[in-house]
Each structure stands twice: as C-alpha cells, then as structure tokens.
C-alpha cells in the first residue's frame, strides 16, 4: 500500500490507562507511536510500553491464523472451518450438559474496552451464567470495598488535593500518567503519603513512606480513624448527614492506639500520628487511592472498606481535592442481566462469594478450577477465552492447567501462544487494540472516544465479529443483529446524543456530561441506605462483618515456623503487564528476567547474593528464582517480592488458590508464607 506517512489518533491499550496516542504510519504500516498532545489524560506523554506496541503488533510470533490441535501438533485451518468446528463442539457440550456447562472468559491481553460486554452478552444469549474474567483477581476487590461504603468507587481528585495518600499503589508503573497529576499537586504544595511494604517508585517521592507489614493496612486505617476521633478532626456535619454506623466505628476504633498500630504494622506510633495530622490538616482536600496491593489478602475487602471510611470521616467525599463521583457514560448496555436474570442457574462461585456476583455478575475463577475437575456443583466442560492466560496468572498454575486440560473444549483467542494455549484445542487470532473499532469511556474526564482499526489481517477478528459469527452458528444470532462493530457502536452511542462522526473528528474524546461535584451529597449515595455505610447491613445479612473489622493476616495470627518468610507477588514492573510483553526483545534487554527482591539482612543470613538461585516453597508448591538484593529501605526484612508472569519462573506455582478474602473471593497472593532454601 503506497499511502505515505499518515498519523491516526487512537488510545493505547498496552495497559488499562488509555492514553491518547498518535499512531504514525508509513504506507499503511505502523512505524511509531507517540503521545497525543491533545488528549486530556496524558497530554502528549506516554510510557515506553506504548511505543513498543509496534513490536507487539508486528511480532514474528503473532498468531495470525486459526490453529487446531491434532495428534501431530498444531494445524492451521481456515477461519470458517475453525468457527464451524468450535460451534459444533459447543453445541455438543450444550446438548450433553446444558448451556451452563459453557463459560466465557475475558483477560487483559488484548486490552479490553467495552467489548467485554459482547462476551457477556454471548454467554447470556446462550443461557449460561458463567462469565469469568481476570477482574475477579484484580480491581474488583477495590471496586467492592469502595462500593460497599460509598456506593461507587470514587476517583481521587489528585491534582487539586492538598494531601495524597496512596495505599498499595504505584502509579508510575501501574498507571503511569497518573503520576503527572500527583506531580501537579505536589508542585502546588500537596503532601504525599505512600503506604507500601516496599519502597515503590512513587514512595521515592513520598513525604511519609508508611512501610507497613503486608496485609496490615487495615490496622493503620483504624489507627487513623481513632486519631481523627481523638483529635476531633472529623467532619461532623458530613458524618451526621451522610453516614451510618459512626457510633460503632468510634467504639471499635478505640483499641487502635498508635502503639497498638505500631505493634501490628511495624510503623512507628509517631508516624501514625503524623500521618493522621497531615491528612486531617489537608481535609477535606485529602485524596486517597488504593492499589492492587491491598486486594490479594484474606482481609482485603475489610482493609479497603476501613480505608474508604476515612474519606467519609474527613468529609473528602464528593469534594474537589478529595474524591469525585463520576457519571458513567450513558451508553446502551449490551448485557442482558435485566432481561434474562441467570442467578438461579448458580453461576460458579456464587454460593461461596455471593457479593462478587451481586456486584459484578462474575464467577469466581479460582473455585471454578475445582468445579471443572469435580463436576461439582455441575459440569463446566467448555471455555472460550479471549486474551486470558490463567495458566500463568491465576494462583496454583499446575491445578489450573490440570483443570483446563480436562475440559471437553478450550478455545483461546490471543495474540500469541501462551501457557494457556498450550492446553487449548483451538487457538484463534485475536485483534490487538489497533486492529478493531471500539468505544471507550474515560470516567475521569467524562469523555467517550472512538478508536479505529488501524491495521488489519485477513483472519483476525474483532470481538464483535467473533461472537457474532459464533452466535449465528449456534442459532442465537438474533442477539447480535448489528452488521459490524461500527453498527454496534452507533447503537451503543445513541443515548448520548453524540454521533460516531463527532467522535471521529475528536479522537481525544468528547465530554458526555459535565462533571458535577456534590451531587451525591444532595441526591444520596448509591448504597442500600443512600448513605455512606461505615456499617453494612447488606454484608451483615450475608453473614459477614458489619463493620470493616480488622483481621490479622494469618502469618501474624498464627505464624508458621517452617515458613518464616512473607512473600508478596505481583508488583508491577514498568515494562510488563501481567504475563504480557515478555516476548518483546527490547523489554528483555531492559528487564531480562524474574528475580526475588530480598532485604540485605536476609540475604546475609541466608548467605546469598545477587544472582544466586533460591527456592521458595509454600503449601501449594515451589519455585526457583534468582535473588535481587535491594537496598535496606526498599523492602522490610523477612519480606520477599516476586513479579508474576514469567514463564521461566512462574511464581503462581506457590500462590494460594485455597485461601481467599471471604467477601471478594480474591486469592492470597501478597502475604504468602514461604520457606527459602539456597539451591
């Protein structure tokens, strides 16, 4: 194609942040990707992951034709044949075991936007309640914690805050351009507190780095609550008008003296007090953000709820410089939950984790493995996945593989062959974010935008085309009446009053409604009571703690003498996202491989140095990794950290798929007791 140089505006989906990008093309081929200076989120700046999308898209290992497993290995087959065969085998499973024996699973690997709802719709149309996703291990724990308290997960108004508190979050690596907003606030004099057992990148800039023991954040939160009460520093009007359960909170907080908090978290009592004063002084312009670091614990939701209470106590909710409630984009809903409730069909995991389904209409992927292997409570025999790699990213990988292998049918759509495709029956090429047409909503700015197909390959289908084609073959085509992605997008967009053409002319996004601060204070919060719920009757009814009671992590409650180290997993690295991008050579140059971060004292005691291999063993399994001795203040003695997603050293060989947060069902992945041997 001789089209010369061209620039197309789009959004980056190398992570979840959707930074505005300018895609530079040369005769139809992408040559570079730079930040779109017009985009309100990133303002021209981009992390280097985005630029490497070029490497990803044209990677020689891309799966670009459908593959079928045969006795002799993978066979390339035409797309139509693949869809016919898959539909046929799905129909068999449906006939034999019923529709609910078929599940759909979305992952992160292609950077889903609104298109996950297409997969949900498919499952519903088919009559299966079994929608699974990576969200049940990332994000939903926080969504729940905040939603239970505030009725939604509000967005911190970082740039207008006078004090920013990050709990277990490291924006420079996890949400890179969020860092700009922190800088903007700090340039106006805002203070920064980072609560993290590790000195993360952002902790390097913190005025207070609260280096708490993993999983003890709740104790700190309650300690702060107690301080605010003691100091008489809480917002009495807000508490009076907009919250329920305050008296119980005061009562429960009493024991969380700074000294008790010090004993539990390891943070000096004086720091607890200083932190409380700093936050109170800034209130209500105190903006807190909770990261993934708090979710993977047995007390995750409780800790997050306790932290969420602070926003209410300090009157920072629904206030400029505090946290803001954004209006969701008024797009049409593709899912069919209202039309066809499927709860009665017992979505997997609902019995044990009802809140997960109530709030997210998601199944529990961890116990789903058990269900697959045992056919209890009923058989799940076929899975169709897009961009998911649970064999690497779910806890207890060997069990995941065993379960997936035992399926009658596993179809994986992805960009590359993965640990999970290794046990698939069919592998279909998936469309990367520059190979499909999609609508996006950016809640922070309340904008919708449209991204377009920039490159195309003959056998690579976008989400809509795939599910549509499959649905037609399975006789449920009436649920997918739109001719193509564009027609679907037009339909979705209708209620906004915006046209696709408008979005095409404004790739940086168009505001769907102006931000309104204070609306929840007027109209009430989206909780059952309409108030900010420090105490939750809903949870109480389900048999959970009414208050976000602090439960000590197991390693503190009843330490296992045989496993004296506490392993955290999953800290984000700048260049990798879960199990993605390990095949991009230039990333490997920069970060060549896995390592276990270790305190120098521990290294000395074990007699190991950088590069030595050690074995970590948990009740689930063992993994060997090279040691990286970090600086004294970068990790606490006795703690270890390993980032997941490495094929050559998969830390999910030791993570728990048998110990969960009771509310969210999140697995224990960030305070795992392990033993360490030099090998």
């Amino acid at each position: 194609m001789q089209t010369g140089p061209e620039i197309r505006h789009s959004l980056c989906r190398m992570c979840d942040d959707r930074c505005g990008i300018d895609v530079h093309l040369e005769d139809g081929r992408i040559v570079d990707i730079l930040g779109n200076k017009e985009h309100p989120w990133n303002r021209g700046r981009l992390c280097v992951k985005a630029r490497a999308a070029v490497d990803m898209i044209y990677h020689p290992d891309r799966v670009l034709t459908p593959l079928k497993r045969t006795a002799d290995g993978w066979e390339q087959i035409p797309l139509d044949q693949a869809l016919d065969e898959i539909a046929g085998r799905l129909a068999d499973v449906r006939d034999r075991y019923g529709a609910r024996s078929i599940g759909v699973w979305k992952g992160e690997a292609i950077g889903f936007g609104q298109q996950e709802t297409v997969a949900r719709r498919f499952a519903h149309a088919l009559g299966s309640p079994n929608y699974l996703s990576n969200d049940s291990m990332c994000y939903v724990g926080r969504y729940m914690g905040f939603t239970l308290v505030d009725g939604a997960w509000p967005i911190p108004d970082l740039e207008n805050a006078r004090c920013i508190v990050l709990w277990g979050a490291n924006p420079p690596y996890a949400h890179p351009n969020m860092t700009q907003y922190i800088t903007a606030a700090r340039r106006k004099g805002a203070t920064l507190v980072v609560v993290d057992p590790r000195m993360s990148a952002i902790a390097r800039r913190a005025d207070i780095h609260a280096q708490v023991r993993p999983g003890t954040d709740g104790a700190l939160a309650w300690g702060l609550v107690r301080q605010f009460v003691e100091m008489d520093a809480y917002d009495k009007d807000f508490v009076e008008d907009h919250t329920i359960g305050f008296a119980k909170v005061v009562d429960y907080a009493r024991t969380f003296t700074p000294e008790m908090v010090e004993a539990e978290t390891g943070l000096p009592a004086a720091t607890v007090k200083a932190m409380a004063r700093m936050m109170a002084d800034a209130a209500p312009r105190m903006a807190a953000y909770v990261g993934n670091g708090l979710e993977h614990h047995e007390n995750g939701v409780g800790n997050i709820r306790a932290i969420a209470m602070i926003d209410g106590l300090l009157g920072a909710l629904d206030r400029e410089g505090g946290t803001l409630f954004k209006e969701p984009a008024p797009l049409r809903d593709l899912t069919l939950y209202d039309e066809m409730p499927l709860r009665h069909l017992s979505p997997l995991g609902t019995d044990r984790f009802p809140v997960l389904y109530d709030m997210r209409q998601e199944c529990h992927t961890m116990t789903a493995m058990e269900a697959i292997l045992s056919d209890e409570p009923y058989p799940l025999r076929a899975l169709v996945m897009t961009g998911a790699n649970p064999a690497s990213t779910n806890p207890n990988s060997p069990k995941v593989l065993e379960a997936l292998r035992s399926l009658d049918l596993l179809v994986v759509r992805d960009l590359f062959m993965t640990e999970t495709t290794a046990v698939a029956d069919y592998v279909l090429p998936a469309a990367s974010f520059l190979e499909r047409t999609e609508l996006h909503a950016h809640a922070k700015h309340q904008i919708v935008s449209l991204t377009d197909k920039v490159v195309s390959w003959s056998d690579v289908q976008g989400e809509y085309d795939f599910w549509h084609d499959l649905a037609v073959r399975l006789g449920i085509g009436e649920y997918f009446p739109w001719e193509d992605e564009t027609a679907l997008n037009r339909w979705l967009l209708e209620p906004t009053g915006l046209s696709l053409e408008t979005l095409e002319a404004h790739r940086e996004g168009v505001e769907y409604s102006p931000p309104r601060v204070g609306r929840r204070r007027q109209a009430g919060f989206d909780t059952p009571s309409g108030k900010v719920e420090f105490a939750s009757a809903y949870l109480k009814d389900l048999g959970y703690d009414e208050l976000p009671v602090y439960h000590r992590p197991a390693y503190r409650r009843e330490p296992d003498a045989a496993r004296p180290f506490v392993l955290m997993t999953g800290a984000r690295k700048l260049l990798y996202l879960h199990s993605r991008f390990r095949n991009i050579p230039r990333f490997r140059t920069a970060i060549p491989g896995p390592e276990v971060e270790m305190h120098p004292d521990d290294a000395a005691a074990l007699g190991v140095a950088d590069g030595d291999t050690i074995r970590l063993t948990s009740p689930i399994g063992a993994v060997d990794l090279p040691v990286k001795v970090v600086a004294e203040n970068e990790i606490l003695p006795g703690n270890l950290q390993v980032t997941h997603g490495w094929r050559e050293a998969n830390v999910n060989l030791v993570t728990h798929d048998d110990r969960f947060d009771p509310v969210s069902g999140f697995p224990l992945m960030k305070s795992i007791e392990v033993s360490v041997q030099k090998v």
Binding site: L34, G35, N42, G44, R45, L46, C47, V48, R51, R162, C163, P172, Y173, P176, N177, T179, Q180, I182, T183, A184, R186, R187, K188, G189, A190, T191, M199, A201, I202, A203, R204, R205, A206, D207, I208, H209, A270, K273, A274, M275, R277, M278, D281, A282, L574, L575, P585, R586, F587, T589, A590, V630, A631, E632, N633, E634
Partner: protein, 161 residues
C-alpha cells in the same frame, strides 16, 4: 532556546526517559545507550535525572579538537557531527556533568541533540519531571519547586508537631 529542564523533586526514577532515549539512539532499550541518565540513591530516596543542558558557554563545544561539536541553528542544541568526530574523547573529559557518552561500536562520542526539537525523554516522562521549556523559564520553574517544597515542609511540620 528551549532545553530539557529536570525536576528531581518530581522524578520517580522510572527510567521511561532512558528507555525512550536509548531506543532513539540504538533501537533497543539498553540503558547504556541513553543520553539522559537517572541516578537513584536509595538511602536518600533521591532521584536525579541528568541530561545535557546545552550550556550557553559549552566547554565541550569549545574544546573539541575536530570542530565536530556545534550548535544546531534550529534548536540551539549542542550537537556532535558523527562524521567529523574522530573519537578522541576530549569532550568526555570536558563535560563536568558526564553528559557525553562514547559509543564504542561506532567509535564516536554521542550526546543529547534534543531529538531535533521534540525530545523523546520528555514525551516519555510520565511524572512530568522533565519539561521542554524556554531556558528563560527555568528560574520560574525552580522557584515553583522551592515554593512547593516549603509549603510541604510547613504541612509536614504541622504533621509532626
């Protein structure tokens, strides 16, 4: 002219800038190929980005015995003409900030050239610590940083009173 202003008070040493620069120089992410360099000192939690300041009175330029270093008329950048550079390394010794690097592969010195007026390090800086600004604005930026630090100190001292 515009230069890359660095604000250590905003830097988190993520090294996006280094990778972006290395990529432009070499097509790969070896940090050693980068002309901007971020040092992180864990003890002090200090992050220090260092990159050429395109000094008004550039010593490297004056000293180059091959007259290979010159000022780009468009951007004002102090640039090395690789075709003229003999690889004598005088400039490495001349730069008091260590901002000139030697490319052993090609045998010539190399340094920041402001990417012809759109520095990739700045485009990759997600904290905003790097800004491509008019040299005259530098004093204002510095004042802004100092003011903010003072304000924070005040808040901190309240925090610990």
């Amino acid at each position: 002219m515009r230069i890359v202003a660095v604000d250590p008070d905003a830097c988190v040493a993520c090294r996006d800038c280094e990778y972006a620069c290395a990529f432009r120089q070499s097509g790969d992410f070896a940090r050693s190929a980068s002309h901007i360099r971020v040092n992180f000192y864990a003890d002090e939690r200090a992050c220090v980005p260092l990159t050429c300041m395109h000094c008004e009175d550039a010593w490297c330029l004056a000293v180059c015995p091959a007259a290979a270093i010159d000022r780009d008329p468009g951007t004002g950048a102090v640039t090395i003409d690789a075709t003229r550079c003999a690889g004598c390394k005088m400039c490495l010794l001349a730069c008091p900030y260590g901002n000139i690097h030697f490319n052993a592969e090609t045998g010539v010195s190399a340094k920041c050239d402001l990417c012809g007026g759109d520095p990739m390090c700045v485009r990759a800086c997600i904290s905003g610590a790097l800004r491509y600004v008019d040299a005259e604005e530098l004093a204002d930026l510095r004042r802004e940083v100092v003011d903010a630090s003072l304000k924070r100190l005040l808040r901190l001292s309240k925090g610990v009173r």
